[in-house]
């Protein structure tokens, strides 16, 4: 009897393993894509499926780090992932990404050269840029009299209890580093500690309501939070619900980021993955996507044509100020810096200091 139970157990386990392992198998062509939530126009997925007959399995991850953890734990079978620059650097370094066959992605030529061969992928063998943007300060102009232009507003006492700090160590500590005049990519422990000290003293003076991510949409739109740090594309979403909001890239400079499409090394559907990437790079796809997610596209033609596309779609001209937020002009980008992949010791220091900030 015992033997039967053991046998059954073994059977069950192997059945479960098989279910997990061979899910989605069969003759059908599939591509598994993982991006951020609300980061793609769902019509594009439908359109791609109709055109190619390939089924798109679109999944979302909350952050670069979550995506990385999911892949590392082996719980994900993504083909295409869309992480940000610094995470791509780390993934390339750890050999997690596959080299792309750019012959299958002819639309790569539509991407502006400015977004190719960036520091995370210097020879551009692994990535195709998807969106780009800046990190900045968002404030409610009906509650703030002045025009904010410095990170200092997050650390000086003036707006105590009205600030929503960003709940992501790289961006929060980055803002403090920039205010102090350091690079966001510094590996100097003293500089990073000084930046954290700035955050922790502002926190102990009750400057911050809290450390938020997605909650900021509701809080900024409702006027609950007056000032916060967040991303340009998301500002435009908030702005469409509350036109009192303003966005600024502080004078000390900021982070500019690129999210790019990559294929995982052990992707099962590489061919389909490249077809998907090629489809997304099309100017029409980029235009539709920009109109949906409000993040700037690296496709040169799409970016240039967007204001007229907006007018066609919405029946009114696009506010040039908003277009500047979406596609930061060169003089703004000149004072911005991309995140680079930091060495493991520095990343561990970030985590430790971030936890200390939460323990206080």
């Amino acid at each position: 009897m015992k033997k039967t139970v053991a046998m059954l157990l073994a059977l069950m386990m192997s059945a479960a393993l098989c279910l997990a392992g061979c899910g989605g198998g069969g003759g059908e062509r599939v591509v598994n894509v993982c991006g951020w939530g609300e980061n793609i126009d769902p019509d594009l997925i439908e359109q791609f499926e109709e055109e190619t007959g390939i089924t798109v399995n679109y999944q979302t991850a909350e952050s670069n780090e979550t995506m990385y953890a999911l892949i590392k734990q082996g719980g994900a079978d993504y083909d295409v992932i869309v992480p940000s620059d610094y995470m791509i650097g780390q993934m390339i370094e750890e050999g997690m990404l596959a080299e792309l066959d750019y012959d299958n992605i002819p639309n790569f030529s539509l991407i502006d050269d400015q977004y190719k061969n960036l520091s995370y992928d210097p020879e551009n063998k692994y990535t195709v840029p998807y969106t780009w943007g800046t990190l900045g300060i968002i404030y409610n102009s009906s509650l703030v009299e002045e025009e904010i232009d410095s990170w200092g507003v997050l650390f000086s006492g003036k707006y105590g209890g009205q600030i929503g700090m960003i709940g992501n160590p790289r961006d929060a500590i980055g803002a403090a580093l920039l205010y102090l005049g350091y690079s966001v990519n510094t590996t100097d422990e003293a500089e990073i500690r000084e930046a954290c000290q700035l955050l922790s003293s502002a926190k102990s003076q009750n400057m911050y309501q809290g450390f938020f991510m997605d909650q900021l949409y509701d809080k900024m739109e409702a006027g609950e939070t007056t000032i916060c740090t967040y991303y340009a594309g998301d500002f435009l979403t908030m702005y469409s619900n509350n036109p009192d909001l303003r966005y600024v890239v502080p004078k000390e400079g900021s982070n500019w980021f690129v999210d790019a499409m990559c294929v995982l090394k052990d992707a099962e559907h590489k061919e389909e993955a490249e077809a998907w990437i090629n489809f997304i790079c099309k100017t029409e796809s980029c235009l539709a996507n920009m109109d949906y997610i409000w993040y700037a596209s690296p496709n040169r033609e799409a970016l240039e044509r967007y204001p007229s596309y907006y007018e066609e779609q919405n029946g009114e001209p696009m506010d040039p100020a908003l277009y500047e937020v979406m596609a930061a002009p060169p003089e703004v980008l000149a004072r911005c810096e991309a995140y680079e992949n930091l060495p493991p010791e520095t990343l561990a220091l970030y985590t430790d200091l971030w936890i200390e900030l939460g323990i206080e």
Binding site: M1, G210, F212, Q215, A348, W354, I355, G358
Partner: protein, 284 residues
Amino acid sequence: MKNRRALFAVPYVGWLALFVVAPIVMVVLYAFSSAAGGFTLENFSRMGAYAVVFARSFKLALAATLICLLIGYPVAYMISRESQRFQRVAMMLIMLPMWMNFLLRTYSWMSILENTGLLNRLFSAIGLFRLINALTGANLEYFPMINTQGAVVLGMVYNYLPFMILPIYSVIEKMDASLLEAARDLGAGSARVFRKVILPLSLPGVLSGVTMVFVPSVSTFAISKLLGGSNELLLGDLIETQFVGTAYNPHLGSAIALVMMVVVVVCMAVMNRFGEGEEQAVML
């Protein structure tokens, strides 16, 4: 014959092995190893720095459990004394909020408790702040409720209260009415019947209610994020940070999770022992 009946347990045992035992084994393996592989105790040596977080999490979870017990017991008792019809409706009402997703419910509390939220707007509309300001000379525009420890405890109580009421209710409801009649026949007043008969007999329900509220409360991270504003790290946040923070460190994360599990299991064991003793003492 007995062995054959064991077959019925196979699906659950399989489930348990795959989704409970195997993950715990993995947590233990991770906790005692380093990124380079090989045995190490280093992950545990850092636990001292997190003592504050442990203490804070246990304090808040304990407060939530106590409040749930204080609210839940009388409600469960009251419901069990009512008619069948009433009981059915009451049970449904208690379960009703659980038909909606936990995160959505917690998110809604955010909009209720905010400085410009529903409650504060209500208070201001009925002139509460004007009254207080006139009486005390204060300059109050809102009650600060969101992003405090109180809000976190409220979130725990709101979300886990049904887990306290249900087990207590089901124990009291099944209590043999003849025992209560016997106690009364022997001259005990209502208070005494409650203290000497109902309370001791309902202890198993209380114990499972306490466990079911305390355990999820002590390990939550969503509630502290949404209602506490991540201002004060709880155990759940601490573990989450090790997995999805800047540095991916499943080893330290597993070690913290393991210590938390051990502490919780020890607490529960002590409590159960105490509960058993109580029951026996009453029997004597």
